[in-house]
Amino acid sequence: MAECHPVGFQWVMEARLRGAKVFHIDPRFSRTSAVADRYLPIRAGTDIVLLGALINHVLSNELYFRDYVLAYTNAATLVSERFQDTEDLDGLFSGFDPETRRYDPSSWAYEGDEEATTDEMREGGATHAEAAGSDSYGARGAGASARPPTDPTLRHPRCVLQVLKRHFARYTPEMVDELCGIAPEDFAELAEAITANSGRERTTAWVYSVGWTQHSVGVQYIRASAILQLLLGNMGRPGGGIMALRGHASIQGSTDIPTLFNLLPGYLAMPHAHRHEDLADYLEREGAGTGYWGNRRSYLVSLLKAWWGDAATEDNDFCFDYLPRLTGDHGHYTTVMGQIDGTVKGYFVIGENPAVGSANGRAQRMGLANLDWLVVRDLTLVETATFWKDGPELETGEMRTGDIATEVFFLPAASHVEKEGTFTNTQRLLQWREKALDPPGDCRSDLWFYYHLGKRIRRRLGDDEIDRPMTELTWDYPEEGQYREPSAEAVLREINGTGPDGRALSSYRELAPDGSTRCGCWIYCGVYADEVNQAARRMPGNRQSWVAPEWGWAWPANRRILYNRASADPDGRPWSERKAYVWWDADRGEWTGHDVPDFDLRKPPDYQPPEGARAEAALSGTDPFIMQSDGKGWLYVPSGLSDGPMPAHYEPHESPVLNTLYGRQANPTRRIYDRPENPYNPPGAARFPYVFTTSRLTEHHTAGGMSRTLAYLAELQPELFCEVSPQLAAEVGLVNGGWATIVTSRTAIECRVLVTDRVRPLRVQRQIIHQVVVPYHWGHEGLVTGDVVNDLLPVVLDPNVYIQESKVCTCAVLPGRRPRGQALLDLIEEYRHG
């Protein structure tokens, strides 16, 4: 966190000054480790073992926050008797089909729910999984009963708590020692610290970044920490939570208002050709009717009205058919394979640099080289724009400029100060940026580009039926200034939504299912409440409370901590004075507190839903997790995930270590691209003995387009380097300041060497495992250049959200610089086949 989010880290440093204890668990001793109380090195790709052992520690020693767990989680809920655990099936859950390598999740359901989930068209089914369906649950769980059978004594063998206990029993400190390389005494210290620091009076927070997500089991890493935090009562409470520290200014916004294939704004799923023939189908099959998702008709219809305006009517399903349909995976890596195969002809790359930033860069560039046309918009000429001129494949002779047919348009972009608009930061906070000045030369905002491109396209279309989604699209924004910039405020107002009177809505609770309201993204509804740009609010921090509710605007409804109903006990009183956040004010008959309560304001703690209630009305006064169909925090996920209802440790796709927890080595449902462009290191190949992991540096930014180009940052970290332990250096013959070549089946790169005690060899299964840590910010453009580290990575994806496993693979390390030209290809060939 100190390394990649230094300014956010000020709060951790401040907490430390007030007595907080900070543990840093990372394969790499970073600047965070330097100021943490304890640093625990871990073998990359084994966090579920550690988290699972913590869960086991909490469960077997009865250290969980019983009142919280009983009231607010599904611990007491009974699971179907058809469910079989990894304990029973040696690393598989029930429902696995070895042919398709997919699960039928129906047996994972709550008792009594099994029938409802057998349809493979439904959530969690194979069709659903094949289109990254689980990813649309960014803010919710999938459908399940609002009132499943429970055992409040928590003793029933099929109640979730007992299921968890059995599942995690094998996650012992000894396994942590054996697989993670963390000694039992270090584990004990961590376990003691987090349990002692959780409960009524205290809360513990977990912070993660892509070190948890970029794995073939990435979603289950987060699930494991969610289980732990729910057991300890650390969710929805101040000082608790699981914080995702995201690496880009509006990467949160990019999922909320997604440019992602499987999502519509506000985490509504893109319709699927087989699952959603019409609007009714869609509403029927996308989640349960209880909890806030029970209102999804209002959200979706308001979106369709925002897009197609008066053309969207009750009679035509509000133009639901104008939405193109998915039939499977249309994600980034599949798109690249489509480029190589020639099905994808045109490509827009907007402020992104896949030639450096995506796994298996060579495949990325092969895709680019096989396009008809490519549009790149950026501040500088990034590698994605210049691959045809000086890409690595030209050096090896695999490509020749004169053979590449791709027509390339490079359009310079406006910088963040040359346009106005909102970023959504890592805590869901929308902040409006004022425009400081006009962009120079041909530079324009992406808003300008898409708006004017859309206008031009519309002018070129006729009244063909297939053109109607375009010609009937609401595409009319006020234009401002010398460049006729579309008004970003008008767009934000459309996102916020308007009511029947045309006035801006102030809350998603005002959205109607009948087409009378329009709203571009329901979770952002309220950002333009009272016709005021709430994201532009700038009440100085020192002139408001520590929650700072008047700075910017957080979705949903300006709540700063989600599910904060859980900060009060079931009766609505704070768990403790020290941790008071929101509470029930019985006199006024409403919820109040430091933050906007994430609950129906007037729903009393003793509210019991009437039979047949829908949406939020179906949740009781003690159900804080209001997006869930049952209002509970899910220790066990009965449906929605592709790879199991509970986390299980699987080794990374490429690993030098045998999985001793189960008979299954790697995640059985991981997505693999078995293609010549994407060779994998053969399992168990002794020629790739080292664990390879990528990292970031404070001084650079992701693929480097915004940092390698700047002298003030380039000078601070001018060259690509690897960090290796003195022991590995001695073993391979590396010298501090010298050169190393790192080899995988994909390619070989060269880098300078930093020999450092900070990288520690780990004792894993009675052998020494060396890890090689390499920051990935370099490419062949910019003031400082270097080989592309992501070229080393294979494309293998998490089965839920299709994120690539870029945090771990295996490699070989050689001293000295890499060969050039054909000799490089020969070297890789030699390593590929042994």
């Binding site: 010298v735 501090n736 300041g737 930093l754 020999v755 450092t756 005690d757």
Partner: protein, 321 residues
């Protein structure tokens, strides 16, 4: 990669290790260039001592020697000023040297002295060459006998008044070293530019100067200990040793050179070369002393805490770039 110099060596007790930051210098070395700075130091000293000789010769009736010394003093000051200006990062701003007067700055004192000295020696020479205003010319020469000794010695303070360990530690001896060297230089030039019959005082000056410089150098070597090491090692050591030999030889020859043109020439050239070597050696020693952190750290440690540090031999575990 370790920050401690020789940190891996088991031969030393950690407490007594000299630590440094990757073996990097603590100080910035003097940035003065070769040959500008040493040549200026030589010329300034030559000019200063020559003006004293010129005055003494004038007073004692050694007119040929007086004229030669007068011209030498002027030429030394004039040429020296040129080298000094060329040494500046912004030569066009040389007049800023006279913007303030700071006794805390030997360079300020030196600049004002050089300005006065150059003017006086110029007046002396102008009068002698043109024959105009002889009284004023003589007065200028007499006055330059006051600025001259400052010229010959302030340079010692100039070097000593820095953080460079080898220079600062030698702060007592440096003025004597420079005065002696200046005297020897002036004597040498006097010997070479004056008929032998009249050059006896110049030869004496050369010999005395050589004694003074050699003595000062020997004291530096004896007294300084670790901080004096740079004068004895590397390029600086070589220059200083050469200088010592040349000065001694030149001084000895000066005492016996009265009858021989060849010996006079040999003595004068040896002393001049020796004086130049001294100046080049001084600059080299200063740079070497600033570049090795041990000369900064060890004496300071000993002064501060009385804790003695073992100096671990240099090992290249620093930057590899």
């Amino acid at each position: 990669m370790r920050a401690r110099r020789g940190g891996d060596s088991a031969a030393t007790v950690p407490e007594a290790e000299l630590r440094s930051y990757y073996g990097q210098p603590v100080l910035k070395p003097p940035i003065w260039h070769v040959p500008h700075m040493p040549v200026y130091l030589y010329l300034g000293g030559l000019s200063g001592a020559s003006s004293v000789i010129a005055a003494a010769a004038r007073l004692s009736g050694h007119d040929r020697l007086a004229l030669a010394a007068r011209v030498t003093a002027f030429a030394g000051a004039g040429l020296g000023s040129g080298f000094l200006v060329a040494e500046l990062g912004r030569p066009e701003r040389f007049l800023n040297m006279l913007r303030v007067f700071k006794v805390t700055s030997p360079m300020s004192v030196g600049s004002w002295t050089l300005a006065a000295h150059s003017g006086l020696t110029a007046a002396g020479v102008a009068s002698a060459v043109t024959g105009l205003l002889p009284v004023a010319g003589d007065a200028a020469v007499m006055a330059s006998a006051l600025t001259g000794p400052v010229m010959a010695t302030y340079t010692g303070v100039l070097l000593a008044d820095t953080a460079v360990p080898a220079w600062h530690a030698a702060r007592r001896e440096l003025p004597f070293l420079f005065a002696g060297s200046a005297l020897a230089s002036a004597g040498a030039v006097g010997m070479l530019t004056t008929p032998r019959a009249e050059a006896a005082p110049a030869r004496a000056a050369a010999a005395l100067g050589a004694v003074m410089e050699t003595t000062a150098a020997a004291v530096i070597e004896r007294r300084l200990g670790l901080e004096g090491e740079p004068y004895q090692q590397g390029r600086a050591g070589l220059l200083m040793k050469t200088s010592r030999a040349l000065i001694l030889a030149g001084g000895l020859l000066a005492t016996v050179a009265g009858r021989s043109r060849a010996l006079t020439a040999a003595s004068g050239l040896a002393l001049t070369a020796g004086a130049l070597c001294t100046r080049f050696g001084m600059l080299e020693a200063g740079k070497a002393s600033a570049l090795d952190p041990k000369y900064t750290v060890v004496p300071q440690r000993e002064r501060a805490g009385g804790r003695r540090l073992t100096v671990v031999p240099d090992r290249d575990d620093g930057p590899h770039a």
